[in-house]
């Protein structure tokens, strides 16, 4: 691949002129080469091996912890009475939140015709899938008798028992599993043309067969593209409400209960904003090093980072607003339990966690008002990591502080995580990164076909009816191929 000749600042908004979405050598062949090369390296780099070794070890730790848990009982965790939910639920909500960015980028930005999404959507969607996988793990292991978990599914059974449809936990089961299914389909379907490219470029039999199977016989015919575009659009339309619903439903786990600090109508929008916030932060956390390591700066440009930073700023401000309004409502409602819960959050024994949360989520992202912070990848990385930490603590604050001091002071308690809790959390990161590293190694990490539709060569500048998802009757790529561009 040719070197990027000049650093063009595509973050300036020049009236009357579109800033290029992709910089550098944006010929279609160069893009193909650049992306496929990553997945086609004969052997992984030392850094990758090291990272994979660490992640896989942590994954092994995760499964060891799960084994220990299932063998011994929930008591190996720090949960108690009254704090009956602990790290498992915190981690679940945290990972589900992370899992919001991908589908938001793929589906909502697609419908809003935000073409800059093409460079990052594959990546973000992959992250979503892995995050939701990590998330799904926790409700499964957090119950007392995981071997009866299937009772939560509405399966016909000899007991003639349905699950309790009034329980938000059941809604969770539906919401998360639907979200995961749709996200997976969306991700995989969007990847099919790129997988076919990898298949076509494969030099070994194994790769040929593997990518061949995975690409489902894609030939790039006009009819294929047509079906593909239609299906993509439909899935985007299907996924869009799910982005909003899944975290709303997760928030119902708390909001539907009557615990002070949980029982709040603000929870659904607040959770969705928080989820997008944390999801984008995680995308940035992963993207900035990857972009550098795989030299994708021309595809994932400062403009992309800038856009994401703006979304983080927006959602972060919403989250910060929620934090403040919660206090207002607690006071304004006149509910003494609620008032105490919030005072206790800010000043009680868990105040440190509250202030970590508040600083990381409501204060630090405000730096993104400054362009310098939005465009300096490393500053942005630091901020995004803070946001990740803050969002984990947000869930900690919600789950633990509310439970530890509820109505009757006689039953107040204190929660301290055990080493099993902490290793399980670390292990879930191991699982996430294991999948993620495998994705980096074997799959097209940027949606080549989609990026090609927004490069100058695609003729996006020539008129409105160009590009992926732009004109739903035409099949633009077909012509590109024929004309040999």
């Amino acid at each position: 691949m040719s070197a990027v000749p000049l650093r063009l600042d595509n973050t300036l908004e020049t009236p009357g002129e579109r800033a290029p979405l992709v910089l550098g050598d944006s010929s279609l062949a160069a893009i193909t080469e650049q992306i496929c090369e990553i997945a086609e390296r004969p052997r992984p780099s030392r850094g990758w091996l090291l990272a994979f070794g660490v992640s896989a070890s942590l994954t092994a730790v995760l499964f060891a912890m799960i084994g220990y848990l299932v063998w011994t009982g929930i008591g190996v965790w720090g949960v108690n009475q009254p704090v009956a939910w602990g790290f498992a639920i915190i981690n679940f909500v945290f990972w589900v939140g992370i899992g919001h960015a991908g589908t938001l980028i793929s589906a909502i930005l697609f419908l809003f015709r935000q073409k800059w999404r093409t460079s990052i959507n594959r990546f973000a969607e992959a992250m979503t899938i892995f995050a939701v996988m990590c998330a799904g793990l926790f409700p499964a292991i957090h119950v007392g008798r995981p071997w009866f978990e299937y009772w939560l599914a509405p399966l016909p059974n000899q007991m003639q028992m349905w699950p309790n449809f009034r329980s938000p936990l059941l809604w969770d089961v539906f919401a998360v599993s639907t979200y995961f299914t749709v996200s997976l389909m969306f991700w995989y379907m969007g990847m099919v043309p790129d997988l076919a490219t990898l298949r076509d470029r494969a030099t070994s039999k194994i790769r040929q067969i593997a990518y061949g199977i995975a690409s489902l016989g894609w030939r790039g015919s006009g009819r294929h593209w047509h079906r593909y575009e239609r299906a993509y659009l439909l899935l985007a339309a299907l996924a869009t409400p799910l982005v909003l619903s899944v975290h709303s439903v997760v928030s119902f786990d708390f909001a539907v209960s009557q615990l002070p600090g949980w029982h709040a109508t603000i929870f659904p929008p607040y959770f969705v904003a928080g989820a997008i916030f944390s999801g984008f932060a995680m995308v940035l956390t992963l993207l900035i090093p990857v972009r550098r390591i795989f030299k994708l700066e021309s595809l994932i440009t400062p403009r992309h980072l800038d856009n994401m930073a703006k979304i983080i700023l927006a959602t972060g401000s919403m989250v910060g607003y929620s934090y403040i309004i919660e206090f207002f409502i607690a006071w304004y409602s006149g509910n003494p339990y609620e008032s105490f819960t919030f005072l206790n959050r800010a000043l009680g024994p868990y105040a440190w966690s509250y202030w970590i949360m508040f600083t990381c989520n409501a204060i630090i992202p405000q730096l993104l008002w400054f362009k310098r912070f939005r465009q300096s990848p490393w500053l942005l990385l630091v901020i995004s990591i803070f946001v990740n930490i803050g969002m984990w603590f947000e869930r900690f604050v919600i789950v633990v502080t509310s439970l530890s001091r509820d109505f009757l002071p006689s039953s107040w308690g204190f929660y301290v995580p055990t080493w099993v809790d902490i290793l399980t959390l670390l292990g879930s990161f191991g699982l996430f990164f294991t999948f993620f590293l495998l994705f980096l190694r074997y799959l097209p990490i940027v949606a080549m076909a989609e990026v090609k539709s927004v490069v100058p060569a695609a003729g996006l500048e020539l008129g409105p009816h160009r590009g992926h998802g732009q004109y739903w009757g035409e099949i633009p790529h077909q012509h590109d191929e024929e004309e040999g561009r």
Binding site: Q81, V83, A84, V143, R145, N344, L408, G413
Partner: protein
């Protein structure tokens, strides 16, 4: 395996090796571990191995093994051989699987508590009070209820043990009989000189008869009685003024004013259950009257918590306060003996003077309906003056009655043990038989009783456990548990009960009577025959009186009659003169009997260790309690270990900061820190006995407290961690609405004070749920009556197979009790008011737990019960999160995995033993509800009110808990639900609890002194 090393030790020990062959087996036999295992597994064989005549060869080993195997089929049965036979005819009244109740009695410190024991197919599983028994009236203390767990304790002594020359051998009962005969023969020739018996306090007429027989045959033998926790000061004090030892009995329901000085008469008294019942019934204010309680005490007690006026005062100043009260009474015109009533140690305007003035004013007004009580920790002189005060008020015969002491000839316990220790030291006691008790551990420290005992060559200890004393004695005999034995005991008031066994002795133990009979060479070496003989001689021969006694659990008309003793004015004056010295200065250490493990004898009971202390809510530990100001002054925090030093002896104990404790006082419970108490007792608390001397058994003046800087995690059932100011303030704000209370006069003016019209009249958004069941169960808990003793918690634990989780889990908030007793403090931390609130599942009609369970494992029955379906529960714990009362309990582990097979016999077969990963909670004792319904249906009659009683309500000493059918408008519970004092806790959440609380009534004197303590 370390076999080689052991083998070498064995060779070095120079034991004779019978043959060259099997050398390794010989070594194996000689290794201590193997020897120990042998004794556990083949007790007889271990003795065989020690017998030089049949020194274990391979051949003899195999012979013994073969014989054991052949006999295994027989010996494995718990029942003795002669009883194994099928029922040809079913015994009358016995239906397999249907529980039967037997009346028996349990004895503690020489006073009996009559109980009914529920037995299922020959297995006693639950102990309840015997309503016919005057000390029980149907209630049972925590320790009495836990006796059934003690019965099944696998760590109880299972064999006889002989310890000689560092060897531990397992003799048989025949060996013991031979030894007893030899002892008798040896000492009879010397008229018993050098022979002594040390008995724990016992009221058994049979044992007393045998004692008399023994002392007739061995006139110079000595019989000592010792209890570490005793009421001898009261006995001595009464003897001082009445000339003969007397026993005082208090009648709370007749009292209008009670002044309790360092006395826990509602909790720490042989008749505490009766006191609590009388107190609980009198304190409801139903007829516009209730007694008023003034309490002055060093440590916050259950009685102090119930008081209307409480003064925190060092125990050493109680005498001064008493004199001050007496002076005020005398000033009121009541004639008191000279020397009493002339001294006012406290300056006017001090809190002590105010307290005394107020108490005296009430006492004067009450006259003979006044009552002054003083605790056993106070010196005899205080008791003497109190007796004079009661006498002057005219209370004797009315609120206090005196009965004769059953054994007027015996000396005080502390003197007896001192005499014995001296005898051992100078060699005048050559042989000592210890029947019960644990003197090596709990005798006064300066006597160095353990060393003296170890030095004695002929010692024998009969005990439930192979404990500290047993290990120093040459012989140890396993004692039969009270539930395994025949016997007879007397209650505090003298009422006789026959103790009958519920089960054959699990480990072949014998009773003290049997051991004495063996010593006397009685042909009837059987507790049954001894008891029967003794009974026939005293209370009528023939079957009828015997059977009646067994059936009732009491022998009617055997209570001692009240005496009208004559007070010696001179003695009172002398006692008062001795008291008229200023109390000792300096920090005071108060040692007290624990409410759960008592003097330490119940330390191996998981139920009792895990029962939260009513006041500190501590489990599995005792602690040095300190007033908050003292803790601040010393710079120590809750849980910090301090060294307590008194007279050169010291122990280290963690600090528990207790509001309401007197300044300058450190409290420490006895009974913890057992060295050989069993695996449950191990590591629980610190041993306070090393500080305790005969001169200062309860109140140790001039103690020092030093910081050590170390910490110990204290497992409290409430406030699992030290609470911050913010939480403390909020708790203070909430208590008022959780526990509603008013004084009696306020209640009379505003009967509906407990109702909150905003919530009782508010209309919910949703339609009220209609329950169609034939019965609608509900509960009412009267906070006026509840004294917070925690008997309900143990009753529930026994009834519902509630697991014990251990100190670590309690510290992490994972205790499993279905009914807890919440304790709150209100007001000034230095003079707090204490409030208790029993908290079972509220069985909300609109239960928040039910809506959130994803698998519908918790549901409502048509009879209004919130039910938990264990085998449907997957364990999401969401229900617990959504329960505003936090009464749900989760099995974080398999809590029964490590319960030994013997202990599993205590399980109630009618209640599921819950597995790990499921939620559980109070069921309102649904098994009892169903049993009651079935019984009524079989008899084709409607259920009667009060027929179904949950375990907590059954055992409640104050009858604070009432259960019944709300659909029956005439039921007691319906009446209480309609009561003006009834309110639902957290009613603003519209959970519609089926458990209502009756607001607490107090009866303080008005500030102006206008408040009438009326009755």
């Amino acid at each position: 395996m370390g076999l080689g090393a052991d083998g070498m030790n064995a060779s070095a020990g120079g034991r004779r090796v019978a043959t060259r062959y099997w050398r390794s087996l010989q070594e194996l036999v000689d290794s201590p571990q193997f020897r120990k295992r042998m004794e556990e597994e083949f007790p007889g064989l271990a003795a065989e191995l020690d017998n030089p005549a049949t020194a274990a060869t391979r051949r003899s080993f195999l012979k013994v093994m073969a014989a054991s195997l052949a006999l295994a089929g027989l010996t494995a049965c718990r029942w003795p051989k002669e009883r194994i036979m099928p029922f040809a005819y079913r015994p009358e009244g016995y239906v397999p699987g249907v529980p039967q109740n037997f009346a028996t009695a349990l004895e503690l410190g020489g006073a009996a508590l009559g109980v009914l024991v529920k037995s299922v197919d020959g297995r006693p599983i639950k102990i309840e009070g015997n309503p016919l028994h005057p000390s029980s009236l149907g209630a049972a203390t925590a320790w009495a209820q836990a006796a059934v767990l003690e019965l099944y304790d696998p760590e109880r002594s299972t064999t006889l043990v002989r310890r000689e020359g560092g060897q531990r051998r397992v003799p048989t009962w025949d060996d013991f009989l031979a030894y007893a005969g030899a002892q008798m023969a040896a000492f009879e020739s010397r008229r018993g000189r050098g022979f002594a018996v040390l008995s724990e306090a016992t009221s058994s007429p049979t044992v007393q008869g045998l004692r008399d027989a023994l002392l007739t045959r061995l006139p110079e033998a000595r019989w000592y009685e010792f209890e570490p926790v005793s009421r001898d000061a009261e006995r001595t004090g009464l003897a001082q003024v009445y000339g003969t030892p007397l026993r005082a009995r208090f009648h709370m329901h007749r009292a209008q004013v009670i002044v309790a000085l360092d006395s826990d008469l509602l909790y720490g008294h042989p008749e505490a259950l009766r006191h609590a019942r009388e107190w609980g019934l009198a304190r409801r204010g139903e007829d516009g009257a209730m007694p008023r309680l003034h309490a002055a005490e060093a440590l916050l007690s259950v009685t102090g918590a119930a008081a209307d006026h409480r003064l925190a005062l060092p125990a050493g100043s109680i005498a001064a306060l008493l004199l001050q009260i007496a002076a005020e009474v005398a000033r009121g015109g009541v004639a008191l003996p000279t020397g009493v009533g002339s001294l006012s140690p406290f300056a006017a305007g001090s809190p002590e003077a105010d307290f005394a003035a107020r108490a005296a004013r009430d006492l004067l007004r009450a006259g003979q309906r006044g009552l002054v009580v003083v605790g056993p920790g106070q010196p005899a002189d205080v008791h003497a003056v109190v007796a004079a005060l009661n006498d002057a008020l005219g209370a004797v015969g009315w609120t206090v009655t005196y009965v004769a002491d059953p054994d007027p000839g015996r000396g005080p316990h502390l003197e007896a043990i001192g005499e014995l220790a001296a005898g051992l030291a100078e060699g005048s006691v050559e042989a000592l038989w210890v029947l019960g008790g644990n003197p090596a551990w709990d005798a006064p420290a300066e006597l160095e009783f353990a060393q003296r005992l170890a030095a004695c060559q002929q010692t024998l200890h009969l005990s439930l456990y192979d404990n500290e004393t047993s290990r120093l004695c040459r012989w140890h005999l396993p004692r039969a548990h009270a539930l395994e034995s025949w016997g007879d005991v007397r209650a505090w008031d003298g009422t006789v009960s026959v103790v009958q066994p519920l089960i054959e002795p699990l480990y072949g133990g014998r009773t003290p009577a049997e051991v004495l009979a063996a010593l006397l060479g009685e042909s009837a070496f059987s507790a049954y025959d001894l008891t029967r003989r003794s009974f026939a001689a005293r209370w009528g021969s023939g079957e009828d009186p015997w059977r009646q006694a067994l059936s009732d659990g009491v022998v009617k008309g055997t209570a001692w009659s009240a005496l009208a003793p004559r007070l010696s004015v001179e003695a009172v004056a002398e006692a008062a003169a001795r008291l008229a010295v200023p109390p000792a200065r300096g920090r005071e250490l108060v040692l007290y009997a624990d409410g759960k493990v008592y003097d330490g004898r119940f330390a191996n009971s998981g139920w009792l260790q895990e029962l939260p202390d009513p006041i500190t809510t501590l489990t599995w530990d005792n602690a040095a309690t300190l007033a908050p100001e003292d803790a601040k002054e010393l710079g120590v925090k809750h849980g910090e270990v301090v060294r307590l030093t008194h007279a050169g002896r010291s122990v280290e104990a963690p600090v528990c900061v207790m509001p309401g404790q007197a300044r300058g006082v450190v409290g420490l419970a006895l009974g913890y820190g057992r060295q050989a108490g069993g695996s449950v007792a191990a590591g629980a608390g610190v041993n306070a006995y090393p500080l305790r001397t005969a001169a200062a058994p309860h109140v140790l003046a001039g103690a020092e407290v030093q910081r050590t800087g170390r910490r110990r995690l204290l497992a409290t059932a409430q406030e699992h961690h030290v609470i911050d100011t913010l939480g403390m303030a909020e708790r203070g704000r909430r208590v008022g609405s959780l526990i509603r209370e008013a004084s009696l006069s306020e209640y009379q003016r505003y009967p509906e004070f407990a109702k909150n019209p905003a919530w009782t009249n508010a209309r919910p958004l949703w339609r009220k749920i209609q329950f169609k069941g034939e019965h609608q169960w509900g509960m009412a808990i009267d906070l006026s009556a509840c004294i917070g003793c925690g008997a309900c918690t143990i009753a529930c634990q026994a009834e519902n197979n509630i697991p014990v989780v251990g100190r670590k889990q309690v510290a992490n908030g994972r205790e499993m009790h279905w009914i807890r007793v919440d304790r709150y403090f209100a007001g000034d931390p230095s003079d707090p008011q204490v409030r208790f609130q029993p908290m079972p599942c509220q069985h909300c009609e609109n239960a928040p737990c039910e809506a959130v369970c994803p698998v519908a494992a918790t549901l409502h029955s048509e009879e209004g019960l919130n039910q938990m379906v264990y085998n449907r529960c997957v364990g999401t714990r969401y229900c617990s999160n959504n329960c505003p009362y936090k009464v749900r309990r989760f099995n974080f582990f398999n809590n029964f995995a490590k319960v030994p097979a013997t202990t599993r016999m205590v399980f109630n077969p009618e209640v599921t033993v819950r597995g790990r990963g499921v939620m559980e909670k109070c069921t309102f004792c649904i098994q009892r509800i169903e049993a009651g319904k079935i019984a009524a249906k079989n008899q084709r009659r409607p259920l009667r009110d009060g027929e179904i009683v949950p375990a907590c309500a059954q055992t409640c000493p104050t009858k604070a808990i009432v259960f019944g059918d709300l659909k029956d408008p005439d039921s007691e519970v319906s009446r209480l639900h309609r009561h003006p004092r009834a309110y639902g806790i957290l009613e603003e959440l519209f959970t519609k609890p089926r458990t209502l609380y009756l607001a607490k009534l107090t009866n303080p004197a008005d500030v102006a002194g206008e408040g009438e303590a009326s009755s």
